[in-house]
């Protein structure tokens, strides 16, 4: 009871305000981030699962084994199978190499299969969500099959040996993906008819897929059983492996959010520690008084422990509430712009915030207060008695440990956290040394300059240790803020560059040389601009340096097992980078064609510069020597090739062309027009995937923006705490100076100079530190190109000077403007 009363009175007296606000901020930052990322991740996963048509897919070149199905029956799990292969379909004298997919009942487990009775339907009223799969004897197909075979709904055509009736057209298939190797129109049939078609023969290339959907825990326990039984031909596909571009964006975003959480907590931690120290200093007298009144150490400990716990609990609740509120705000702001349903966060997302509260309390608040219960009661009589607390470096060590623990908990990446904290420590030590040096220099200069300056420099020097610590704290806060601000700018710019609003979202494959010009013309007549027009031939890699690759290499390198797309290009796309060898403009080797190979493919194949590759292109042979190794950015959503030939190398092989185009939802009908006119063209629709990534980038950007503000608040709080920490002494000094007749203007002037100097110096060091930190984060953590931040140097330093100067004068103005007598009495 007494403890609560005291807490209330302390609160009223303003003694715990900074402490409480910093605690609340720490909890709020962490919980906001963890709740937000949790919800985002959940939304993303559930959304992405519809791209798979399931939660997990087992992909195999063999039929799914019956014993697995038996095993699956024991679990509460939905399953379905799909069987995909290329097969000729016939009607009268017309035929087409279709991409056939036989599906079992239940397909798709997640997402929607959209169908219509009208070919090329775009009108929402004509499009229905399929309830179930094609019945036995029936078949559904892409609209473009109709012009290809001259069909209409209700007609029959044959797949292998079986005649089937076309009952509907497929408008949208959730798990079609971006498969650049399936050229044929989709024909979807019931699994039961598969045997009757007789197309599946030993040796046919077939992709079997087993779709699974269940609760995550059920899935995990099932897969842990299944995994040991899988052969190298079978692969578990999850969302991440299915959507790498998205995964990388999200990963970067998470790293950034984590970093801001860490910086936020670090700043809040410093503010908490400073506030706690000040609290302790101010409470030595109170404890001595309590003791003289007969309170035992145990009682004092209890009184303060209860105060802290209650304070911690209140801060935690408020922090959680604020965190929750903020992320709801983001979510609802986003919901109005993007059609994204964010599901509520799982309860575990609330834990990091609470853990942060407890750790902050234990590691930042408790150490500075540790000695309070053992303050000797004689202190009440002998005011001059020095009360030594827990040594500063112990407190610092504990604080740093706490940081590492916190970050490690969030990131589960000990190295990331340790290295960032380590870098900050080194920077802080250097800052301290540098600051001390500057102060010494300053005192020599101070003797030669005007009185206002002398006063300011003297003040800095008198409390040299204090000044160094202050400078360090300011420097740290500014450094972290600068780092975060410019990182957020680069990150968001980088994302927007990666997927600008009009990123091509449809790829047109298999455009024949004869159609090439007509297609361009059609596009132009619709006001569309086509992006690239890559020539392309389908080829199979058969020999490396004149010999056939071993089975082992074949296992490893997927491009040896299927046809690859070859292209040639005069110039290099922005998102391609040569890491070895030379591009065509510098490459000269008479008599052979050159080829540029993607780095990972080269590694899988075990080839390097100068090796010879032989391809078979529809029975013809094509030889080329490796001239360069390239890296690609797959998340750029541009057409990219593992193999790029030197100009002219493909002239003899009648290439088809690939192009990409941006279609807005209103323009989407163009696809139909195109396919009606050119049914052999394959259109790969990336608009859903790209829209999803763009919406996620938008969500994450808003989140990051908000985090930045929270962290800025943290930085401000640290500076406020650091300025307030010296307020008691300053009050006395200033009042004394004023009592001795110093004019107010002069005092204000010297205060301004003192704090601006502190701020400016801190700014310089912060800028250096931020630059080092930024470069290393870009390089090690985010994997971005290195670049210097020149603008930062200027406005970082100036900003720090102005900000801290203003903050100092603002906080001290009362001391300067109230009558000195009143202040002296207050200080007693």
């Amino acid at each position: 009871m007494l403890a609560l009363k005291l807490l209330w009175r302390n609160w009223r007296a303003g003694e715990v305000k900074i402490l409480a606000s910093a605690l609340i901020l720490a909890v709020a930052v962490v919980s906001c981030i963890s709740i937000f990322t949790d919800r985002l991740e959940q939304a993303l996963i559930s959304q992405s699962h519809t791209f798979l048509g399931a939660d997990r897919v087992i992909r195999s070149s063999q039929p799914i084994q019956d014993k697995w199905r038996l095993l699956a029956a024991d679990y509460d799990m939905k399953t379905a199978t799909t069987t995909q292969f290329a097969s000729m379909v016939f009607r009268d004298d017309r035929m087409h190499l279709a991409s056939v997919k036989a599906v079992s009942r239940g397909y798709p487990l997640l997402g929607q299969l959209k169908v219509s009775d009208v070919p090329f339907a775009t009108d929402a009223e004509l499009i229905k969500v399929a309830q179930g799969v094609p019945a036995s004897g029936e078949v559904w197909a892409d609209s473009r099959l109709l012009p290809l075979l001259g069909l209409k709904i209700g007609d029959q055509f044959t797949v292998g040996e079986k005649s089937l009736t076309l009952t509907r057209v497929i408008i949208d298939e959730p798990d079609r993906g971006s498969n650049f190797s399936a050229y044929g129109a989709r024909v979807m049939m019931n699994e039961e008819d598969l045997a009757a078609t007789q197309v599946i023969q030993p040796g046919s290339r077939i992709r079997y897929q087993w779709l699974l959907a269940a609760d995550e825990s059920v899935l995990e326990s099932f897969l842990s059983q299944l995994e040991p039984q899988l052969s190298p031909h079978e692969r578990i596909v999850d969302v991440e492996s299915a959507q790498q571009g998205l995964a990388k964006t999200l990963d970067t975003a998470q790293k950034f959010l984590l970093l801001s959480a860490m910086i936020g907590v670090l700043l809040a931690g410093v503010a908490i520690a400073i506030a706690a120290r000040r609290f302790a200093q101010r409470h030595v007298d109170q404890v001595a008084l309590l003791k003289s009144l007969g309170a035992s150490s145990g009682k004092v400990r209890k009184i303060y422990a209860v105060q802290l716990l209650v304070l911690g609990a209140i801060a935690a609740i408020l922090g959680l509430a604020i965190g929750q509120g903020l992320q709801t705000l983001i979510a609802s702001a986003l919901a109005s712009v993007f059609p994204v349903e964010l599901s509520p966060a799982s309860w575990s997302a609330y834990i990091p915030g609470l853990v942060t509260g407890v750790v902050c309390l234990l590691c930042f608040v408790a150490p500075p207060l540790w000695h309070l219960p053992v303050v000797p009661p004689i202190k009440i009589l002998r005011r001059e008695l020095e009360i030594g607390g827990v040594a500063f470096y112990w407190q610092a060590t504990l604080g740093v440990l706490a940081m590492i623990v916190l970050v490690a908990i969030f990131s589960r990446d000990l190295w990331l956290s340790a290295s960032i904290v380590g870098a900050m420590l080194v920077l802080m030590v250097l800052t301290a040394l540098f600051a001390a040096l500057l102060l010494r220099l300053g005192s020599q200069v101070g003797r030669k300059v005007g009185s206002v300056w002398r006063l300011a420099l003297a003040s800095l020097n008198r409390n040299a240790q204090q000044s160094v610590i202050q400078m360090m704290v300011f420097g740290l806060a500014i450094m972290l803020l600068l780092t975060l601000t410019s990182l957020r700018t680069t990150l968001i710019e980088d994302w927007q560059l990666q997927l600008p609003p009009e990123t091509p979202n449809h790829f047109l494959l298999n455009v024949s040389p004869a159609e090439k010009d007509d297609v361009i013309e059609l596009m132009q007549s619709q006001g569309l601009t086509s992006q690239y027009l890559f020539p392309m031939v389908r080829a199979r890699l058969t020999h490396i340096n004149g010999v056939e690759p071993s089975e082992e290499v074949k296992q490893r390198a997927e491009m040896l097992r299927r046809e690859a797309n070859l292209s040639w290009s005069e110039s290099l796309n922005d998102d391609n980078k040569i890491i070895e060898g030379k591009w065509w403009d510098q490459w000269r080797e008479p008599g052979v064609h050159g080829i540029s190979v993607e780095a990972e493919a080269a590694q899988d194949l075990g080839v390097g510069l100068g090796d010879d590759l032989r391809f078979s292109v529809g029975g013809l042979m094509l030889e080329a020597r490796i001239a360069s190794i390239r890296t690609l950015k797959w998340d750029s959503m541009n057409p990219n090739f593992y193999f790029l030939m030197s100009p002219g190398a493909l002239d003899d092989f009648s290439p088809t062309y690939l192009t990409s185009v941006f279609l807005s939802p209103e323009n989407k009908i163009f696809v139909n027009r195109l396919l009606e006119q050119f049914p052999t063209i394959v259109v790969i629709e990336m608009d859903r995937v790209i829209a999803q990534i763009q919406s996620i980038v938008a969500q994450v950007s808003v989140g990051i923006e908000l985090m930045l503000w929270l962290v800025l608040l943290g930085g401000f709080m640290v500076m406020w705490a650091a300025v307030s920490a010296t307020m008691d002494e300053r009050k006395q000094e200033t009042a004394l100076l004023r009592a001795l007749g110093s004019p107010r203007k002069r005092l204000l002037g010297s205060l301004l100079i003192e704090f601006s100097l502190l701020g400016g110096l801190a700014g310089v060091m912060a800028v250096i530190g931020a630059e080092v930190l930024l470069l290393s984060i870009q390089y090690w953590v985010l994997d971005m190109p290195l670049q210097l931040h020149v603008a930062l140097w200027v406005w970082g330093t100036l900003g720090a000077m102005v900000l801290i100067g203003a903050l100092g004068v603002f906080s001290c103005r009362r001391v300067v403007t109230t009558p000195p007598g009143l202040i002296l009495r207050e200080v007693g």
Binding site: N10, A13, S292, L293, G294, A295, L822
Partner: protein, 232 residues
């Protein structure tokens, strides 16, 4: 009531061992009053602190209200202080964040005494501050602050009240008023009073007076026939 024998306090400093108190003995009955005088640095505050159980002597014995303070640890002494001792200090030692009323309630609340508020109000009225209950220390004059401190000291109805230069920071008129208060309450409650003072006027009020010089008792006065044990 209070019996101190051969109290010695030595501290080791950089310049060697320093004797702050040298074989001080004294004895007081309940309701007595004692003034400790002496030059600055003569050891007055040190003696007061040891007598009150705030500090330990290097050697010697003190018994306060049948408790052998020198045989108790800090926790034991805290109990004795809680039960029997009150303080008034030179710099008033009010908590700046608390109102006058709350400052007086503090020891009562600490000891879990019922009706802390009523008692505190009573004592503040007693020292003439019933109109200033909700004022903070910085809104009160030095004399008023000291009256709050006195109210706080008496509110827990101690058997012994220790005061270290209670008028040291006050002008003489205010000081006189504070002294009057102290002795009035001393008479009303039968409290034993031990004060350190520079002021002869204040010392004159006490039945016993000792004067210190470099930690030694150099003068000892005992009025109204109060028995005073001879010391060696």
């Amino acid at each position: 009531m209070l019996n101190a024998q051969s109290l010695t306090k030595k501290v080791s400093t950089a310049a060697g061992e320093l004797i702050i108190l040298d074989e001080v003995s004294l004895q007081l009955q309940a309701g007595d009053s004692l003034a400790i005088t002496g030059a600055s640095g003569s050891g007055k505050s040190t003696l007061l602190g040891i007598l009150a159980g705030l500090d330990e002597p290097t050697s010697g014995k003190i018994s306060l209200h049948q408790h052998e303070l020198t045989e108790l640890g800090e926790e034991g002494r805290a109990k004795v202080r809680a039960a029997h001792v009150g303080f008034v200090f030179q710099s008033f030692q009010l908590l700046p964040g608390l109102t006058a009323l709350e400052n007086v309630m503090m020891p009562l609340e600490l000891h879990g005494i019922d009706n802390a508020k009523g008692k505190a109000e009573f004592f503040l009225t007693r020292v003439g501050l019933n109109k200033r209950l909700d004022h903070y220390p910085q809104q009160l004059s030095g004399g008023e602050q000291q009256r709050v401190a006195i109210a706080r000291a008496f509110a827990s109805e101690p058997d012994v009240l220790f005061a270290d230069e209670p008028t040291g920071n006050l002008d003489s008129a205010t000081g006189a008023h504070v002294i009057e208060l102290l002795f009035e309450l001393n008479r009303e409650q039968g409290t034993t009073l031990i004060l350190v003072t520079h002021e002869q006027r204040l010392a004159q009020h006490c039945q016993q007076r000792i004067s210190l010089e470099a930690g030694k008792v150099v003068e000892r006065v005992c009025e109204q026939g109060v028995a005073l044990s001879e010391v060696g």
